[in-house]
């Protein structure tokens, strides 16, 4: 698209890309059915995923595809720059449902190098409606300013901020009552921080120390006891 087409052409083009999704979906459903005739019937019975994935909305990181998981295996929340904000009812509802109702065993926060959200937050510019959301990433920068200011290479600094953002979001998940209470009772879920790299298509484990961090965090944010 060049952006200069006649309105009618634009319509036709939109309709085509829209139709493609439906054709593709039919193809996929037929393939799955052929591989396993009971596939959709089994899924219909319910879900019991082991993982909750909190990732970026970025189109290049479809969580299930890059981890090789089948439908039914991973519960998913995706937002701009994989943030877990404490006043955000949206993500808190997801964490609550996954932990308290589905009893997931692992929570993965997955960031990615080259994240547009993180980049935008490093730009000294008014981003309008996005300001409050991106502000959380600027706060991550402030928390780790000493380390980040020392990195002179801009690309490396940006990569490191992506990693530190994941790390802080892992800490934010541990600060929830749902995770602390479920852990006290069952010793799960375990929180993990990962980063996806386009350079090699691989996931990098940041080796987030769940138990150590939990202990550290509970000095101030202890919500284990029920009201």
């Amino acid at each position: 698209m060049t952006g200069k087409e006649e309105p009618k052409e634009v319509r036709k083009y939109l309709q085509q890309s829209h139709d493609r999704i439906f054709e593709n979906n039919k193809k996929w459903a037929e393939e799955m059915q052929k591989k396993n005739p009971a596939f959709f019937k089994d899924l219909s019975a319910g879900q019991s995923p082991e993982y909750l994935w909190i990732g970026c909305s970025d189109s290049r990181i479809p969580a299930e595809a890059i981890t090789g998981l089948d439908p039914g295996e991973m519960f998913i929340h995706r937002n701009i720059a994989n943030l877990v904000c404490n006043v955000d009812l949206n993500v808190m509802a997801v964490v609550n449902y996954a932990v308290r109702h589905l009893k997931v065993k692992h929570i993965v926060v997955c960031g990615h190098y080259g994240c547009g959200g993180v980049k935008a937050a490093m730009t000294p510019k008014d981003m309008g409606l996005l300001n409050p959301w991106l502000r959380n990433i600027r706060d991550v920068y402030r928390l780790h300013q000493a380390e980040l200011d020392k990195i002179t290479d801009e690309a490396k600094k940006y990569d490191r901020l992506v990693e530190l953002n994941v790390y802080e979001q892992c800490r934010n998940i541990i600060k929830t009552a749902a995770v602390q209470q479920c852990w006290a009772e069952n010793e799960y879920p375990v929180v993990h921080g990962w980063v996806f790299g386009f350079a090699d298509g691989l996931l990098k484990d940041l080796k987030f120390d769940h138990e150590g961090q939990l202990k550290e965090i509970q000095k101030i944010y202890d919500l284990t006891k029920d009201a």
Partner: protein
């Protein structure tokens, strides 16, 4: 895919899955990741349920890079939710997607929970409140349906329509709809069949589930 990597540790399982994905992708196209690293230009923003059974890119047989994604409990868009609003702003204003899709589904735990008033904890009660309001508003219509599965499916539909109404008020959506023909679409994914269906609202000028700006 999934079941072929039987490892004892569930994390090794997905890391192994990732290595297989990486090798498969590189074999098909040695430049695949180099191309992805250059940036994204998705055509579609998908707002779907967090439910594990509907991986949008897989279900639509699309490639990484084609669909920008927001997924939450019961694919709900609230007017005062900054999380979803930020995703919409980024996708529409900055990435200039051409279509926004809201996809609900059958057998949705959120829609099902909205059929009653069971206490799910304060956080979830609050999140699902608008969906439960939909149930109250459409009481008679819902009571006429044969069973809870049908009622949950109807709630899922009503909820998709409501989310689309909220999206129409988003400043970026309004602007893009008028200036460059951005369209909104309501879909329902049938889990038991693996199939996507377009929702069309009755009595309006919509065709094929497309919403046209006034």
């Amino acid at each position: 895919m999934g079941t072929s990597y039987i490892a004892t540790d569930p994390l090794d399982y997905i890391l192994a899955g990732n290595r297989a994905y990486q090798q498969r992708t590189t074999k098909r196209d040695p430049n695949a990741f180099a191309l992805l690293a250059q940036g994204q230009a998705p055509e579609i923003l998908w707002i779907g349920c967090a439910d594990s059974r509907i991986p949008e890119t897989t279900v639509c047989h699309c490639k990484p890079g084609e669909i920008f994604v927001h997924r939450n409990i019961a694919n709900t868009v609230h007017a005062d939710d900054l999380n979803a609003a930020s995703v919409v702003e980024y996708a529409v204003t900055h990435l200039r997607v051409n279509q926004v899709v809201v996809c609900g589904h059958t057998k949705c735990g959120g829609a099902n929970a909205a059929l009653g008033d069971a206490d799910l904890g304060q956080t979830l009660n609050m999140w699902l409140h608008p969906v439960r309001e939909l149930r109250r508003k459409h009481k008679f219509e819902l009571e006429g349906l044969p069973d809870d599965d049908a009622r949950a499916a109807k709630i899922a539909e009503l909820n998709v329509q409501q989310s689309i109404e909220v999206l129409k008020q988003h400043p970026a959506v309004k602007r893009a709809a008028n200036e460059r023909g951005l369209t909104l679409h309501g879909l329902i994914y049938d889990i038991g069949a693996g199939e996507l269906k377009i929702l069309s609202e009755s009595g309006s000028k919509k065709m094929n589930g497309l919403w046209t700006p006034p």
